[in-house]
């Protein structure tokens, strides 16, 4: 077995910390952007008014649909009711009009953070000549990297800056959990983990978790937006103001459904790959080990979520709650089950 490159490992640790600090800065800026949203809204409305003066048929909602669009539909109308025109695109496309300098700096910081973070994660893998997801610290840091990277990938095509505070916040929490909660010096893998399946099973599990993390933030916003829309319908105050920069509850629901569907497929794959690995390592593909139980529970919750979308009375708020509960089970599975529940998956690697 090749020796561990300790020099590279210490660089990895250092860059992990720097990346965490950069994420924290991005989080603060995103939060500032959110707190200043009323200013942004005023600026947007001024722009809008100018646009409308020039061109009576302003290209707002559904601009991309061109000639065939015949209105954004009744739900969007109620969303905007009583709070002026819509400021964000229902399909989360960039409108080109929105100038949010603080949020843009935060996005730039996220990019820098991801670059540093990616270096740290890859360096850790290279230093040990193996995949960088062999213990809790590494699941956490790799997972945080994927959450941030997937978020940035979506940002290229979709204006989801409104998610920034939540995503950056969750990434900071994950990085803190890794470096404070589960700090683990770099080491070789124990024999039970020396299998090609660690590459397949764990990477897809972490990627699925990253997607579920994104949809969790969207579902929380969906609930907030839903309540705001309900308040507006009954003539109540259109607060909190930052939600005007967030798409409607319906749009959030549709997008989190699409991402959850991908996450669910990945989770199904994780389950099957895990079963194949379990057969190879322990001789049985399924044994109701605590970790297997919770992976199954999460799978069933998200299966319920997908069914809820096709059940009358279960769309909207209830589906959002299922998505949130699924994420809670995911976090529970990762933290509590890994550390406190006895089982075959006791690879937390936390020094005693």
């Amino acid at each position: 077995m090749q020796p561990i490159n300790l020099q590279l490992a210490s660089y990895s640790d250092l860059f992990m910390l720097i990346a965490a600090l950069v994420y924290a800065a991005a989080f603060i800026l995103f939060a500032l952007d959110m707190a200043n949203s009323s200013k942004t809204i005023r600026a947007l409305e001024a722009e809008l008014a100018a646009d409308t003066a020039l061109e009576p048929q302003a290209q707002l909602v559904g601009a991309g649909a061109g000639t065939t669009s015949h209105g954004p539909g009744p739900v969007v109308d109620t969303a905007g009711a009583g709070s002026g025109p819509e400021l964000v695109d229902e399909d989360m496309d960039y409108l080109g009009t929105t100038r949010r300098p603080v949020a843009n700096v935060a996005v730039a910081l996220m990019v820098i953070g991801v670059a540093l973070h990616a270096f740290a994660v890859i360096a850790r893998g290279l230093a040990a000549h193996r995949v960088p997801w062999g213990n809790m610290y590494e699941f956490c840091t790799t997972g945080a990297l994927l959450v941030a990277a997937v978020y940035l990938l979506f940002l290229i095509r979709k204006d989801i800056r409104f998610l920034g505070t939540f995503v950056a916040g969750l990434v900071v929490i994950m990085m803190c959990a890794a470096t404070i909660g589960f700090p683990t010096p770099l080491a070789h893998l124990q024999p039970a983990l020396q299998s090609p399946w660690i590459v397949i099973h764990v990477s897809i599990a972490v990627l699925a978790s990253a997607l579920f993390t994104l949809t969790f933030s969207m579902s929380v916003l969906q609930l907030l937006q839903h309540r705001r829309e309900a308040r507006i319908r009954t003539g109540g105050p259109a607060r909190p103001a930052f939600l005007r920069l967030v798409p409607s509850a319906l749009s959030l629901e549709n997008w989190s459904y699409r991402i959850n569907a991908v996450g669910f497929v990945m989770w199904t794959f994780t389950l099957i790959a895990g079963a194949i690995w379990a057969e190879q390592a322990w001789g049985r593909y399924w044994g109701w080990d605590t970790k297997e139980v919770w992976t199954f529970v999460i799978w069933v919750i998200y299966a319920g979520y997908l069914h809820a979308r096709a059940t009358r009375g279960w769309t909207g708020e209830r589906a959002a709650w299922l998505s949130i509960i699924g994420f809670a089970a995911l976090v529970f599975n990762f933290t509590i089950v890994n550390t406190y529940f006895p089982g075959l998956h006791s690879y937390a690697g936390i020094p005693e």
Binding site: T67, Q194, I301, A329
Partner: protein, 553 residues
């Protein structure tokens, strides 16, 4: 699986239930078969399926909170002893056998019945849809969620020709098409695509039944067992050779694949470089000699964690390892009462190993020993020796000895790893004058009172093997992978309908209008609309829209 048609029925039933004062009026209207049918529609409704799914998720949780008998019956026994009152109640509700319990089985069986009742009618319906033409063109396409019109210049094709060209294009895009004459002179095409989405949905759900069925096959035909092998020892795959054995419900001994194997050597590598993980295991390698059948050629094979041996679908797994000190016990008469390696149970990362020796043949008194084997012994200031490394740097035995009746003569089965000292008299321990026995390899010790002697001859290694045979796993794997593929199809293939109608406008030019309808979740409908429009503009001389809203960007 939407059963929205049933919602009204449900509501009607509720009202009935709320008015019990007139049951004689209301009940006959349902009747016995009616009630059954009502219960069946209830069970197969989407809402019930969703509820059962959520209940299943909750019901699976206790199995991770309480120890489970299939995983470790002795842990359950400990739990019951420590929590006699609570434990008894939990046991009554099968909390230690959650996944074979009545209530858990009831939930998943109901779920599967609901699934079958939901999927089969859908399969029948879809089989019909597959054989029938796309639905007829709605009169008002503008009411569809996606809709558009284009007006052709006079040089453009006639309505019928335009519709034909549109139909060709739609077929190229994967639609099934049917061109029809319209009553008022024009023509229209009805098109539908994505039939495979529903097939994926049905196959996914049926695959789950396949998974469950082959799990049941496995539980009938499988067997698994454990065997500990010390270096040099052999094992033949017969029932008596196993240390423990769990047969499937339909197991018979002739199902055991004939083979034999022996442990030639075992090697463990521990981390010697890391400051922080010093002594962590890096590699376990067992060299086995395997003989296929009763007269096959013995072959040397390497057995590692994650790399089981496979002998005609019976798989041998390396699941544990440890040390087996070689001991010779002589009795008071000087005769050998026990000789051979003793399997010591590993207690921790540094292989502190618990050791029990029973010598029932010793005369005049039976002898028993209990203590620890330490691969690398270190004696602290308090005089207690501990192991500080998993490797054999300074092996040492620390034993207490006893004499008396070991209790083996009554024929009651005993745990070989536990010495019941209640009826025994202590000879050696830290609390008696003679002290404990400390031995290094090659040393001997004479027991007090001339009861005999014990010598530590050397150390061998042993491996813990799991031997599994499960013919059902191939079916489970096949249906699991099929379920995954079908799931991807059912979630990401888009099923949609399209209609294009060509008419002659008031000024004699051809007007083409089209509409799109998604069936199930489809977020790409608007893109499809744009794609159709782009294609129409490419195919035909389209009149530029006049109103500002329709101005091309």
């Amino acid at each position: 699986m939407s059963q929205q048609d049933n919602v009204r029925v449900v509501r009607d039933e509720r009202t009935r239930e709320d008015t019990p004062q007139k049951p004689e009026v209301e009940l006959p209207s349902l009747g016995f078969t009616g009630t059954l049918r009502f219960m069946w529609t209830q069970l197969t409704s989407m809402r019930t399926a969703l509820m059962l799914l959520l209940i299943l998720a909750v019901a699976a949780v206790p199995g991770s909170l309480f120890p489970q008998r299939p995983a470790g019956p002795e842990i359950v026994q400990d739990y019951l002893e420590q929590n006699p009152v609570l434990g008894e109640w939990l046991d009554r509700f099968q909390m230690f056998d959650v996944y074979s319990s009545v209530w858990f089985s009831a939930i998943y069986l109901l779920l599967f019945v609901s699934l079958i009742g939901c999927v089969f009618p859908r399969a029948v319906k879809h089989a019909k849809a597959l054989r029938s033409a796309p639905p007829r063109t709605p009169r008002r396409l503008s009411r569809l969620p996606e809709y558009g019109t284009v007006k052709l210049e006079p040089a453009g094709p006639s309505p019928a020709a335009a519709v034909d060209q549109a139909a060709t294009y739609l077929r190229k895009r994967g639609y099934r098409v049917e061109v029809r004459e319209e009553p008022d002179g024009g023509a229209s095409v009805g098109a539908e695509r994505g039939y495979v989405r529903e097939i994926g949905n049905i196959v996914f759900h049926l695959s789950l039944i396949g998974v469950l069925a082959f799990m049941a096959v496995g539980s009938l035909l499988s067997y698994s067992g454990q065997k500990i092998l010390v270096e040099g020892e052999g094992f033949a795959n017969t029932l008596v050779a196993y240390d423990s054995f769990t047969p499937g419900s339909a197991f018979s001994e002739d199902r055991l694949v004939p083979f034999s194997m022996s442990l030639k050597s075992f090697d463990a590598v521990f981390d010697r470089e890391s400051q922080t993980h010093y002594g962590q295991p890096l590699d376990f390698t067992a060299v086995m000699e395997v003989q296929d059948g009763t007269d096959g050629e013995p072959q040397e094979q390497v057995l590692k964690v994650n790399h089981p041996l496979d002998i005609h679908n019976t798989r041998v797994y390396l699941v544990g390892n440890g040390y087996a000190p070689e001991i010779t016990v002589r009795d008071g008469n000087g005769d050998v009462a026990y000789q051979g390696p003793v399997v010591a149970q590993v207690q921790d990362q540094v292989y502190t190993s618990l050791l029990v020796i029973k010598a029932p043949d010793a005369q005049p008194e039976q002898l028993g020993f209990v203590g620890f084997f330490l691969p690398t012994a270190y004696t602290g200031e308090d005089g207690v020796a501990v192991s500080i490394d998993p490797d054999l740097y300074k092996p040492e035995l620390n034993l207490n000895s006893y004499y008396g009746d070991l209790g083996l003569d009554e024929g009651v089965p005993q745990n070989v790893y536990v010495l019941d000292t209640d009826d025994l008299t202590e000879l050696n321990s830290r609390s008696v004058d003679a002290g404990g026995i400390t031995l290094t390899p090659g040393e001997s010790y004479d027991l007090p009172e001339g009861k005999g002697s014990i010598s530590f001859d050397g150390v061998k290694r042993y491996v813990g093997l799991d031997i599994h045979h499960d013919p059902g796993k191939w079916g489970v794997g096949f249906f699991a992978v099929l379920a995954l593929v079908a799931l991807i199809v059912s979630l990401f293939v888009r099923r949609r309908r399209a209609w294009v109608r060509g008419t002659t406008g008031p000024d004699g030019s051809t007007m083409v209008e089209y509409g799109l309808l998604a069936r199930g979740e489809d977020f790409g409908l608007r893109e499809e609309n744009l794609a159709l429009r782009r294609q129409f503009e490419r195919m035909w001389p389209v009149v530029a829209p006049e109103d500002p809203q329709n101005r091309p960007e």
